[in-house]
Amino acid sequence: MKRQDNALEARAIGTAVKEEKAGGVKMKKVRAILRKGGQERRSAFRAGQFDFVGFLLRLVLVAAIVALFVLFFGRFVDVYMAVKTNGETDIPRRATELLTILYAAITVGMVIGGIGQLGRELFNSDDMRIFSALPLNEKTLFVAKLFNIYRGQLLIALVTVLTVNATFAWKVAVTPAFWALTVGICFLLPLITIAIAAVLVMPFQLIKRFLRERFFLTFLLVTALLGVAFWVYSLLLSGVKQLLLGDSLRYFFNEQVMTAIGKACDFLYPARWFANIMAGTDPVWSWVGLVAVGAVGLLISMLVIKSILRRAMQARNQSSTGSLLRSGYLKPKHGKFSALLKKEFLLIFRTPSYMFSYFSVAFIMPLMVYFCMDIGASLVENLVGLDSNLELALFLTILFGALTNVFCATNISRDGEMFYTVKALPLNFKAVFFSKVVLCLIVTAITQVASAILLAGAGIVTAYDALFIAAVGIIFSFVNIAVATRYDFNHARFSTEDDGEIKESSGTVSIVIVLGMVVSFAVGGLVFILKVLSQLNGTGYGALTYILAGGLALVAGGLAAFYLFFRLKQKYYEFSGGGI
């Protein structure tokens, strides 16, 4: 369908303007290109293709994230505004500091997103091949692409800045001008972030090119980066735990800390100018600074993107770029199943985004469980006053297992059109599905056993409990894998990209995330609450955790297996989906 749309739109663009005058921007063509983008986006909502449940769950997930942020940030604003320096509260200064830090974080996030968006628009976009053959001059295409990039960044700015400012306005009295300025900032911020992203996009693409086909190196790098990121995150969490346990939150923002924050904020430009304007401190010079930086940003973006555009268009049309990989031997005969298993592994390992989403995350998962357990166990023990390491470990193992296995929501879709080819091969449907499920089970079993060993090794749980946690974790992971695979099969959406890579998450992903979280909270929460209640009431608890968690795991495992295989043979042979 996307290809058809592309072709139709290409024709529309081709006929939209009859004469091509060299040099100038053709606004008709720009509008035609933008209209094409809009029509492609709307095509996902067409009858028969629209996944209502998935769409709804995505909305719910976004709403939940925003609601959580508003809740916690709102509380934090209260605390931060009450911080005293020199014995007095200073609301304008605190507001400036707080908004500076937040706008800086938003800027960093938007720059990272912008690099990705620029890469997609200039280097990976499927339509570039068509555009390069159409009578579209460089400037016209440049304006259309720039507008598209700006629109994407504006959307992110609206969601993030509005959320931050609305929460801020909820806690601190603001004037009506605050809202007008908020809108102004939303429109100005993308100019700056696009400029920074435009400067960084070429080095990023060079690194990407260097890592192309160096799969193992990519895996090591990505996993190491993820590990470091999670280690830093755990340090932060650990700090928060210390603050909470030591009742030292209100003493945390002492004179020394506040001076350091103040100094740091003095360097966080252009975020500081945005904050100055919003807080009403030195607004005139801040506006001057921002407008100047915005204009320079626009100029840089235009120069950099324009210079990249032609090269990107040419690069996009070069079909054979050579390959670094050498594998020239015929291998001894393998069974059909192991051939399928190897195919699945290579498909994930040699696609960087898949490798990151699954193998790297799975590799880090034991560390996630360990760090969270370390923090959570002491928190629960100190705050609630009881030892519930087993229950907490179960909860975390199921939760992180579920989050790792979200990747399985593309088990069918990521095959793309090759799913049909496999269907025409002399392979039993069980072999096709088992190969997918078994690979995921191997990955999940390794991570679950590793995290159990880590927990037992650190003395957080006993060896027997670790064994039980690993077993329950593996069964619940099977539940996630089985449900995700079958749901994806029922609602498969194949990619139309050349390499068949899925670049946008579908509604299935949201459903699997929500389901995984619901199951982990239900099981983990249930055993935890029952233990707390039994200890508070002084009643015997005994082996209830083992019976409940073990029993629920077996029931869920049975149900998931039934869901996976229910009328699967018939559905497999009748399959004609994928949206292509």
Partner: protein, 289 residues
């Protein structure tokens, strides 16, 4: 008696290569009849490799029929072409034949195996190349060949020998060691063809096989197709390139708007009328519908 598989000239001498074009010659007894002598005989006397009877296919319950009452056979040593304009139903028919798509009514048998009831056995008898040349792009060419050989249960020594034979035809060369994602369109088509032939299938199905191939490979493929059927195999392919069809096929099944409108014995037609204009016939047929 021998005949050239490329130019189809008959030689009384036992020559291995055609003195005119240099193409490989095969024994007349191998099963192929370049003058359509055997085509005149009743089809029951030949061994059917493919039998399609009353095929109906639609993509959803509300959708119109994509294929309506299509029936044809393909015998050993025969090349059958499915001919029709874009969207006529050629690819849909082939996909049903390959077992990729389910169909509502009708019966398809490959080497005697029903594609619905004995799917795995039927699929073991065939190799196929799809119109989009879909492959596992994250594999190297050789890994893809290995994968296909594993799936078709080809023993190690056989796959080595077979790959060498295929390499001589398709000449993919060193890039076979590279990732398929780095291949050009034509190279992808070559690796698809090689993968589909690694098990020497009884039936070779090709959907628009010549699109994207360079002239030398196109010629080599055409030559190979004749050699392949001369060994007692069968080929079905779809095309709207009339010259290719006229050059290659023994019989042609004409499909328009999902319906089978005609079945022609190309060799007999050319034998009766060497100036027969295939293009004219096809276009006239299309207009009258």
């Amino acid at each position: 008696m021998k005949y050239c598989t490329t130019c189809k000239v008959l030689y009384q001498d036992e020559v291995n290569f055609c003195p005119d074009c240099g193409g490989r010659t095969v024994s007349f007894a191998a099963g192929y009849d370049p003058y359509g002598v055997s085509a005149a005989a009743p089809t029951g006397s030949e061994k059917e490799v493919v039998s399609v009877k009353g095929l109906y296919k639609r993509y959803s319950r509300k959708a119109p029929w994509a294929v309506t009452d299509v029936s044809f056979t393909c015998n050993e040593g025969e090349i059958v072409g499915l001919l029709g304009h874009n969207g006529a139903g050629k690819s849909t028919t082939l996909k049903c034949l390959e077992g990729m798509l389910p169909f509502e009514r009708g019966e398809i048998k490959i080497a005697g195996y029903d594609i619905k009831k004995d799917a795995e056995k039927a699929k073991m008898q065939m190799g196929f190349v799809t119109d989009n040349h879909a492959t596992f792009v994250k594999m190297t060419g050789i890994q893809y060949i290995n994968f296909m050989a594993d799936v078709y249960e080809v023993p190690t020594d056989v796959r080595t020998k077979r790959l060498a034979e295929l390499e001589r035809v398709f000449r993919l060369g060193r890039p076979i060691e590279n990732l398929i994602s780095s291949y050009s369109h034509g190279m992808r088509q070559k690796i698809c063809m090689m993968g589909s032939l690694i098990h020497s299938p009884k039936l070779w199905i090709l959907d628009e096989p010549m699109t994207g191939l360079d002239p030398a490979t196109m010629r080599a493929v055409q030559k190979f197709m004749h050699e392949y059927v001369a060994q007692g195999n069968a080929i079905i392919f779809s095309s709207h390139a009339l010259n290719t069809v006229a050059k290659l096929c023994d019989r042609v099944v004409l499909i328009q708007k999902g319906e089978q409108v005609d079945e022609l014995n190309v060799k007999q037609i050319y034998a009766a009328n060497p100036n027969f204009d295939f293009e004219e016939y096809f276009l006239r047929n299309e207009k009258t519908r």
